[in-house]
């Protein structure tokens, strides 16, 4: 274990870790093409780049998770080989992975200390471990009991556990790959405070996020990646949003996308007094007496914090998870409690929150994923018609502009953004009347974001009713015709994005006082 | 067959108490008959009978004996699972004051069980072999289907056959396969043997099930007319095959008689304190079944005098 280099507030621009000419192949995918990258003591280096630019890959190499196909690493000017995460940790390098890496069947404490137990007389010293965890949680201003099972935590809280684990190692270099993708604004503030403490103690931070403003705010150094190459570096002082976006996509792209004004058709989806019990069977309501309507061609944003109950709501609308009371009408017909296939036939589909877990069949090709929901359309005389399928799939790929080697390419070979497009394309191929999207842009770069929203606008113009969940206020305001705010399972307000200010919307969601009221405690 | 299930109910749970019958494998008509006979005799004598099978697993046999002891049965009729492995089990029961009467197979120690009533496998094998050799005309190629190697009767019978056949130099054994007493395996293994030796004239099998499997294989290969098959046990299907002329002969194990004796001795021991038979080891000779006496076969494993 290398002790943290404590040089107090004095932070010279000295390089701790240097990646020299790193290249990485995955099978035939050239993920990194000879990258030179530096990590500086006591500084926050922020990586920008579209999906698939190679950010995570480089980070995995720095953390000993992946081995470079070419090039090498230098730690304090000495060449090092990091053959495993453990070796990296021993050199004082730790990482928060982009995707959660927790054991749902174990307690928070066990997750934080697994693999590096504190032992006393050959046995694990649970008491002292629990003590450490409690202190970590205090530092992160989360009241999570060390003995809670991780499976009982919300996504956001699980991400906090990941962060806590990284903090529990005394490291000189801390890599954070999308640490805030599921955090509330308040939780993000806490994290930033912690980061500042760390840097003050000379810890070097490498930070990746697709929340660009947020990332720019925390950065000392900015580094931009584009398809496997490092295309620009700059000091925080001389960068701004347009610059970053420009470098990322290689052209100056507008970050602002807004649908044109238009009056909407009649009500497509109407929800009446819906109540949904908490999925985890703790005797609480995830969704408490929610009513709302969406009109043809209208794009409604469901804004709120983690744990507001939006996922439960949209999932229940899509047929997963039972609706305990209230009803749901599609074009005036009661569709409450119908099975998923029937709902899809009738024209209501969901783009789920967790792409990998609920969106894609990893063992199948791009084409098979696209056609999965609309197979019945390709059946001729009891049999799937190959030609019919290839045609439709081809159209689908066109329609949502998936960048892929072809319909036969494995879905796992696509980057996050393109995978998301496939998930959306799959639902669109069923010709839905109502499209539900849960965090459709989570972990997706601006380029892809823009494309996805213009896609939604186009479909809306054709009369599709859209209801999307987001936790990004900017996205809520720019992309929607109407904003519905949920908090603690209830609808607490409705806003017109043209008139309403960010502040009042966030206030309504209870964002400002989230730290005081831990999420999940019952309302009133 | 009759229902071996209802034991708790049924006749005469009156005076005598229970006698435990532990046989080998109730999915096999031979032992099924053994069990049925025992049960019938026992209930005729006014006792209750429980029937179980150890499927030649000595550990299972152990547990069944244990349970019988717990059950305070009056006596145990046992078809042992292996001559050596069964010794401790029998001793345990005897030590617990429960007399054990062995049927069909023996154990490797004497003076523990009250009586060991065994069908004389060696003598039976000799009978069968002689009849088969005669049918073969004393010459030709043949193969052997061998029983479950962990069952010593497989060896005894095989040796019995060999002893007779060795006297005929013109009889050449060209192959041997283990078919574990089983008809399905008997057929598959025989098909393999036929492929390896298309020119065989005879088959000797350790029991009827394997022989019947072999006969099916020979029928399929259209060789049944020229190939002479020998079985052992004398179960209904085999006797039918003998009648049909597809099997030269089978050796009837006097299992019904043996079981009756065992039960009789058990009851007399319970009631009078002795088996009524001088010596513990009693071997009953097997009877050859050929076309000539096949029609005397009235019930499973029963041959009218």
């Amino acid at each position: 274990m290398a002790a943290p280099a404590t040089t107090g507030a004095d932070t010279r621009d000295d390089v701790i870790l240097r990646a020299v000419d790193i290249s990485k192949w995955y099978g035939a995918t050239h993920a990194l093409k000879g990258v030179n990258f530096e990590v500086r003591r006591g500084k926050v280096t922020v990586l920008f780049g579209e999906n698939g630019a190679g950010k995570s890959t480089l980070m995995k190499i720095l953390a000993g998770v992946e081995q470079p196909s070419g090039g090498h690493l230098e730690l304090d000017g000495k060449r090092v080989e990091l053959r495993s995460p453990t070796e990296a940790v021993d050199h004082g390098i730790s990482i928060i992975h982009q995707e959660l890496n927790l054991c749902p069947n174990l307690s928070v404490r066990d997750n934080i200390f697994m693999g590096r137990e504190r032992t006393r007389l050959g046995g694990v010293d649970y008491r002292s471990e629990r003590e450490v965890v409690r202190r970590l949680m205090e530092r992160l201003e989360e009241d999570i009991d060390p003995d809670t099972l991780v499976s009982d935590l919300r996504l956001g809280q699980q991400q906090i556990v990941e962060i806590a684990r990284a903090l529990s190692l005394d490291t000189r270099i801390l890599i954070m790959d999308e640490p805030t993708s599921a955090l509330s604004a308040a939780e993000v503030e806490v994290l930033f405070r912690v980061i500042k403490e760390l840097t003050a103690n000379g810890v070097a931070i490498v930070y990746i996020s697709h929340h660009l403003e947020e990332a720019i705010e925390i950065s000392d150094h900015a580094v931009v990646f584009r398809d496997g190459e490092l295309v620009a570096t700059a000091d925080a002082a001389d960068i701004d949003l347009p610059w970053v976006v420009g470098k990322m996509v290689g052209r100056s792209a507008g970050y602002d996308f807004r649908d044109e004004e238009r009056d909407h058709g009649d009500v497509a989806l109407s929800i009446e007094n819906v109540k949904i019990p908490d999925p985890t069977g703790n005797g609480r309501l995830a969704v408490n007496d929610v009513s709302l309507t969406v009109r043809r061609g209208e794009i409604v944003c469901l804004y709120g914090l983690m744990g507001a109950g939006r996922t439960e709501l949209v999932e229940a609308l899509a047929g997963r998870g039972e609706i305990a009371s209230g009803r749901v009408l599609l074009d005036g017909e009661d569709i409450t409690g119908l099975p998923i296939p029937e709902l899809i036939r009738r024209g209501i589909g969901l783009v789920p929150e967790d792409r990998q877990r609920d969106g894609l069949v990893q063992s199948m090709s791009v084409g098979q994923n696209l056609s999965l929901s609309s197979l019945w359309e390709m059946v001729r005389r009891f049999l799937l018609s190959r030609r019919g399928e290839t045609e439709r799939v081809g159209k689908g790929i066109e329609n949502v502009r998936v960048k892929t080697a072809g319909a036969g390419a494995p879905i796992t070979s696509l980057s996050g953004g393109n995978q998301q497009k496939v998930v959306i394309g799959k639902i669109l191929m069923t010709g839905p009347k109502v499209l539900l999207l849960d965090e459709p842009t989570r972990g997706i770069d601006v380029g892809a974001k823009g494309e996805i929203f213009s896609l939604l606008f186009r479909e809306a113009r054709k009369g599709l009713a859209v209801l999307y969940v987001t936790s990004e206020i900017g996205e809520a305001i720019t992309a929607s015709h109407r904003i519905v705010v949920m908090a603690k399972g209830r609808v607490v307000g409705e806003f017109d994005p043209r008139t309403a200010s960010r502040e009042e919307i966030m206030a309504a969601s209870g964002e400002s006082e989230v730290g005081l009221h831990p999420i999940g405690t019952p309302s009133e | 067959g009759s229902d071996t299930a209802s034991t708790a109910d049924g006749s005469g749970d009156g005076k005598g108490g229970t006698i435990a019958v532990i046989t080998v494998d109730l999915a096999n008509s031979y032992w099924q008959t053994e069990a049925d006979t025992a049960k019938a005799e026992i209930e005729k004598a006014g006792y209750k009978a429980t029937v179980n099978a150890h499927n030649s697993d000595p550990d299972k046999q152990n547990q069944l004996i244990d349970t019988a002891i717990s059950n305070k049965v009056k006596a145990i009729i046992l078809d042992p699972a292996g001559a050596d492995e069964s010794v401790p089990a029998v001793r345990k029961a005897t030590d617990a004051g429960i007399p054990v009467f062995l049927v069909n197979a023996e154990i490797s120690e004497q003076g523990i069980a009250k009586s060991q009533i065994i069908s004389n496998n060696a003598q039976g094998a000799t009978l069968g072999a002689e009849a088969w050799v005669e049918a073969m005309g004393g010459k030709g190629k043949y193969v052997e289907l061998y029983g479950n190697p962990t069952d010593n009767n497989a060896q005894v019978r095989s040796d019995g056959y060999a002893a007779v056949i060795s006297a005929y130099p013109d009889l050449e054994k060209v192959g041997q396969e283990t078919a574990n007493w089983d008809r399905v395996q008997g057929k598959e293994k025989m098909e393999g043997l036929i492929a390896a030796h298309p020119d065989i004239d005879g088959v000797i099998a350790g029991n009827d099930e394997m022989a019947l499997g072999a006969i099916e294989a020979l029928k399929d290969a259209g060789m049944i007319d020229k190939v002479k098959v020998l079985g052992f046990d004398g179960n209904a299907d085999a006797v039918q095959a003998v009648k049909d002329g597809t099997m030269v002969a089978t050796v009837l194990q006097p299992i019904v008689q043996g079981t009756k004796n065992a039960v009789a001795q058990a009851i007399s021991y319970i009631e009078k304190g002795e088996t009524g038979v001088p010596d513990e080891k009693q071997s009953i000779d097997c009877v050859l079944i050929t076309k000539d006496n096949a029609d005397k076969y009235t019930a499973p494993f029963v041959l009218e005098e």
């Binding site: 036969g408 | 099924q32 190697p149």
Partner: protein, 366 residues
């Protein structure tokens, strides 16, 4: 078999990924198979005689049919340990009906026609499968446990029906109009025994179902990622339930074929068939975790096992060694798979690095 591969292979790209991988695995199984054939035909002149090949193929057929049913279940990430017992049970039911089914209450004896017998037995098989399916889908019992339980239950029922003694007069009688079971089910049209025809039939039908029917796609999808499949409108539960019925159906078919083959119905028939079936499926390149596997591969797997076992008998290897070799082959055949995949990955990686413009994509590890 080649025409079975057709639908999959012909697919323009859509399926190509699965197949390129599948081909690798099957390739491996195929190598094992050829190896076996070569070795044994060198050891014994009788190994490759037409008669013996037909005999061995008949032995393979039974296992292959079970394996095809098993494949359905395994594609879904499940497993069916009850097929062996189902074989026994359905055979016994057929035997019982052929010998005459006594209704004690009315004391009449029914002698159903042969086709009725066949239908009923198949029905029983499907019923067993249905129970498995319901246990797995409705009661969320792990497939291993549900079918393990059924293994005992079905066998027990078979024993109860026969009470130990096999049904052996299955020829039926003219005046009862229930003759022909043996002749029909045991016939050998065009010199191929019925089991072989059955195998070809099942293979063809199930290959079409897997590659041409939405059901097949649903099965692969729910095996690959159940949650995603469900949310995409795949009737996951229905699929899951149906595959066990199909597996039961295959078992019933084998039960009938076996009964006819032995001209008698023993309750102990089919013991441990499940193990061979599973082995065949896995040797054929299927993943027990679900989502990966093909009919073609499964057939090859069945041939590997069948031709191995019969070969060992033919050359007269001792019973004991037969077991050891069989076990070893199962392991090696599957271990090869892994080895080959790694090799392949490494090679293509090398190729990519050295190449100026990289060769066509290779699947990322799922």
């Amino acid at each position: 078999m080649s025409e079975l591969s057709q639908p999959a292979a012909a697919s323009p790209g859509i399926l190509s990924k699965i197949n390129t991988r599948a081909l690798l695995l099957e390739g491996r199984a195929l190598i094992a198979f050829l190896l076996i054939v070569v070795v044994f035909s060198l050891l014994s002149p009788n190994y490759l005689t037409p008669d013996n090949v037909i005999t061995m193929t008949r032995h393979v057929a039974m296992n292959a049919i079970l394996a095809i049913g098993m494949l359905m279940v395994i594609l879904n990430g499940g497993i069916d340990l009850s097929v062996g017992s189902t074989v026994g049970l359905t055979g016994v039911v057929a035997g019982m009906l052929l010998e005459g089914f006594e209704i004690t209450s009315l004391d009449v004896i029914l002698y159903p026609a042969v086709w009725v017998v066949i239908v009923v037995s198949i029905g029983v098989g499907c019923l067993v499968g249905l129970v498995n399916g319901i246990l797995v889908t409705r009661f969320n019992v792990a497939p291993f446990i549900a079918t393990l339980g059924m293994l005992y239950v079905a066998r027990g029922i078979a024993l109860l029906i026969t009470n130990g003694t096999p049904f052996s007069n299955l020829t039926g009688r003219e005046e009862l109009g229930n003759t022909g079971f043996l002749t029909v089910v045991k016939g050998a049209p065009l010199g191929l025994p019925m089991p072989v025809w059955a195998m070809i039939f099942f293979a063809a039908v199930f290959a079409v179902v897997l590659n041409k029917r939405p059901f097949g796609r649903w099965l692969y999808a729910s095996g690959g990622n159940e949650r995603a499949a469900e949310l995409s409108g795949v009737p996951v539960k229905k699929v899951q339930c149906r595959i066990y019925v199909l597996s039961g159906l295959c078992a019933a078919a084998v039960g009938l074929l076996l009964t006819a083959d032995l001209a008698s119905a023993t309750p102990s028939a089919g013991e441990f068939f499940e193990l061979n079936a599973i082995a065949a499926v896995v040797i054929g390149g299927a993943a027990l975790s679900g989502g990966r596997g093909t009919i073609r591969g499964t057939l090859i797997g069945a041939f590997v096992i069948g031709f191995l076992v019969d070969g060992l008998v033919l050359v007269g290897v001792s019973q004991f060694w037969q077991q050891i070799i069989k076990g070893a082959v199962i392991i090696i055949a599957v271990a090869l798979d892994q080895f080959q995949q790694n090799l392949h990955k490494r090679r293509s990686a090398k190729a990519a690095i050295s190449a100026t413009k990289p060769p066509e994509r290779t699947p990322a590890p799922a």
